[in-house]
Symmetry: C3
Subunit: 399 residues, 3 copies
Amino acid sequence: MDEKVPFFEKTLLDEDNGIYVEKWSLSGRELRIGGEWRIEKRRLYGGLSDGVDLITLDNGELSLIIVPTRGMSIWKGMYKSMFLGWNSPIKKPVHPRHINLEAKGGLGWLEGFNEMIVRCGLSNFGAPGIDVITDNMGRKKEIMLTLHGKIANIPASRVNVRVGLEPPFTLEVEGVVYERSMFGPNLKLSSIIRTVPGSNLFTIYDVIENLGGTPAEMQILYHCNYGSPILEEGSRLIAPIEKVAPRDSIAAKEIENFDVYGPPQSGFTEQVYFMKMLSDKDGNTMILLANKGMDKAVSISYSVKELPYFTLWKNTSSLEDGYVTGLEPGTSFPNVKSFERKHGRVVILKPGEKYRSGVTVSAHLGKDDVEKALSRVEAIRGGRHPEILKRPLEEFSPS
Amino acid sequence: MDEKVPFFEKTLLDEDNGIYVEKWSLSGRELRIGGEWRIEKRRLYGGLSDGVDLITLDNGELSLIIVPTRGMSIWKGMYKSMFLGWNSPIKKPVHPRHINLEAKGGLGWLEGFNEMIVRCGLSNFGAPGIDVITDNMGRKKEIMLTLHGKIANIPASRVNVRVGLEPPFTLEVEGVVYERSMFGPNLKLSSIIRTVPGSNLFTIYDVIENLGGTPAEMQILYHCNYGSPILEEGSRLIAPIEKVAPRDSIAAKEIENFDVYGPPQSGFTEQVYFMKMLSDKDGNTMILLANKGMDKAVSISYSVKELPYFTLWKNTSSLEDGYVTGLEPGTSFPNVKSFERKHGRVVILKPGEKYRSGVTVSAHLGKDDVEKALSRVEAIRGGRHPEILKRPLEEFSPS
Amino acid sequence: MDEKVPFFEKTLLDEDNGIYVEKWSLSGRELRIGGEWRIEKRRLYGGLSDGVDLITLDNGELSLIIVPTRGMSIWKGMYKSMFLGWNSPIKKPVHPRHINLEAKGGLGWLEGFNEMIVRCGLSNFGAPGIDVITDNMGRKKEIMLTLHGKIANIPASRVNVRVGLEPPFTLEVEGVVYERSMFGPNLKLSSIIRTVPGSNLFTIYDVIENLGGTPAEMQILYHCNYGSPILEEGSRLIAPIEKVAPRDSIAAKEIENFDVYGPPQSGFTEQVYFMKMLSDKDGNTMILLANKGMDKAVSISYSVKELPYFTLWKNTSSLEDGYVTGLEPGTSFPNVKSFERKHGRVVILKPGEKYRSGVTVSAHLGKDDVEKALSRVEAIRGGRHPEILKRPLEEFSPS
């Protein structure tokens, strides 16, 4: 929120001050500004979602469902008639209380995975694996890092809503999530999800701060996931790629078509490609996922200074099993942390140091809109050709 | 519910449609049909039960407490003055959020175990042990399967109550529970628990469907548990046994008395017997557990086509530690899954395929009623004698 | 509560009888006895504290926040203007549902650790490590014992408040917590936390009973933790020490100053000292922690018959990471259980047997009050000198 603009603010949750609002809503009609937007907070009851807080952020054209209880993830969205997100086998937001990250050899995270945008991190992300920490006694101890870390399964400790009272009547949901332990990391995520009435886009502004007294490792990856209708047979990834390499031999076999999607296929095994993106002079880049007819698309814009590594997850499995692709800008690739550390891709935050990152997600509907988005990608590309590696890179993939 | 009969229906929980009824009840008096029956829903607060939903299904003579939050288990029951169930060290239903199935080397399930009928399954049941799965990367991965699987610790996603408006005024509680994960099983359990006013019995009708896009393994076992007053010194298991074998050397020592129970005994180690049952021409069988005086009994009826393997769990431990026996018809024996798989006893469900199974539990009070039940068992037995094996069978028990 | 004194009683939680009071309070003003005291119960909503019950016990001069949901721990307190407790990186009480004790190689307990007094136990406490149990099949099974056991992460099943209606108008909060499992321990903790209006102290009276039918191991340690303002550079531990030994080489290096505290120090590695205390003729002892100026102090009094081993945890880490010291009387040292068992320091309770233990915590403000507390310590010491060992003792520390 531009601080010079007067704004309305509502605190929905504040652990420190004992504030919790179970049900609340506000709309443009009520405030008589900004048109047809609406922000609504509710709490779910029953089943695996019991106790989950949801916030619907609807700017009139684009709406999102934010899940403070799952680390400020964005479950799904809608732009006009176009669905944003994917159809996971897990149909509802699962309360973190029901997720055991340690289960199935560290794959428990998968039992709650259904979001359009879920952060992986903050102390670690990527494949589960053994890591060595120094325990409270000052001794080396082997622990298991679990798939994609903890942040998506930690409820927010503070949630605010803000509405700008002057044009463009900015709409914001802010959440604060702490990933912390005695003798462990003490990382604070402050996330603002912002849009404006009538817009086709929203932006996530994250600040991650090391509240601890010693330097701390930090990793963040934005797992942005789309299925039908944007994903279909013939959909394409259009991006200003500098370099792309398959993660493994399975991906290598399909390197020729790494940027094209097939139809839903039962028993499909994921294909993952590691990339570095080109950017404009300010370090910004944009990745476009467009359907076959080039009239439905979503784009992800971000700074390669903040998120230098991009992972493409192609999982064109059957509709039942999750037909989905993940566009994943991150501070590193989602390999086991020890590998990323070895290759210098794990961020270190000094005490009090902050790391800023985020993504802007735009929905493009109709050929004209998709064409405009495409032009933006082409402008960043500037006619350069990607370096396409046919085999996994030793520097990118553990053998 | 016979679909031709008009019925009253109430949805108590429906995640998809955001329905959750915290407190509700209905009785025969209110509806002026069927007599003294009553169905009541409530939510528990405080302690380890905080958030647990309970449904009391009382047909006037027989009442059950169903626990939707624990996978539609049946906690306990009462037939006239006779208690149905057992006295576990765990006195109240424990919310799955407090159960860590991975704890104690995969034995965490035991911290919530107190039901009269609890399903074991659906992706696995039996002893904890290592299994090999194919992970999201298409690689073999060793994971730990936990004791008796997950289904008893997953809250239902939908709960309906139905009451038939014409004789016999059928009373039904229906629940739907999903055991699912991205890159994992996607199994749907639809369970109907049915009785009629004044009856001495209830039936569980389960349908398990593979919602996934690829074939999936499925296992289900009905762990039916009884203690005092039906279980006492001199109680007997009366069943149309085709073949019985001890699970291990501990059970083998007592094979002569496998069908007779001792008194509560401090420090008792469980004795487990694996059996195959005879059935009538339709494949139905019936197992009777009767007290010494043959005036208190419970019987379990089911189809051996659905549940071909029967396990008898004798745990005549002290009253404090859980004096109980388990009658356990299942799709296999409760050995570690890899062993059952090797012996072809794990069900495979194709995409969309359904598996039907269930049990009818009848309470028998008074010598006449027990005698009638006995006759039914004798009719199935048809004078045939069980094959009693004195040592564990290689095909039934891992060494 | 002296049973001859008439008292007021309020049940706030009783699982057996379906009682749960979400919000309640009572004060001396309302009852018109005992002055300005107040007892208040509330439930937290939102974030990691969602569902946590808190009871404020305020005697007018000294107030405590008791957490029934975390095993009757005492989160923090205040004596007049003096804070009692410490400033953990974890700012709010974390609901046990969010704690996975098995995480991080058994260190998950640390994600909820922020109390002034937290019990470690009851089936085990101390460092995580492998132990061998007899499983339900009667076979030896290796399991992982997790740091400091389960009791602090089990919600109470019963909570009562009692107020004496005659002088001294005793104020009591009583809680019952069960640590139990089928085929596992069955231990009942009944805890009374007692104070009187205007007092500078409170007492914890615990009774631990083996409800199981066979003998059971039991361990309890009171982890009493203090930070600023009582802990500061130059603060001292003043205690009637009989013998003290460093736990490890890190502690050994600082043995000369084991009883003096340094300033907050980033990256500090904990120093732990194992001790045996002298006691008065009744077996009672007292440990004093005083600030540099000797005008702020807290003392812990207890019986060495109940709690024969004392552990001093010096963790003068940065303020951000938890500047804290733990005074820890226990039934043993907090080493891995198998080591304590080998040295005969694990309690065995016969079926039905009870173990009584507890601590009295007094706050001392002003030089006179601290001086009086000091005299009490000196009286117990009786001029005897501690035996200070420069190296870890084989009997106390695993190598």
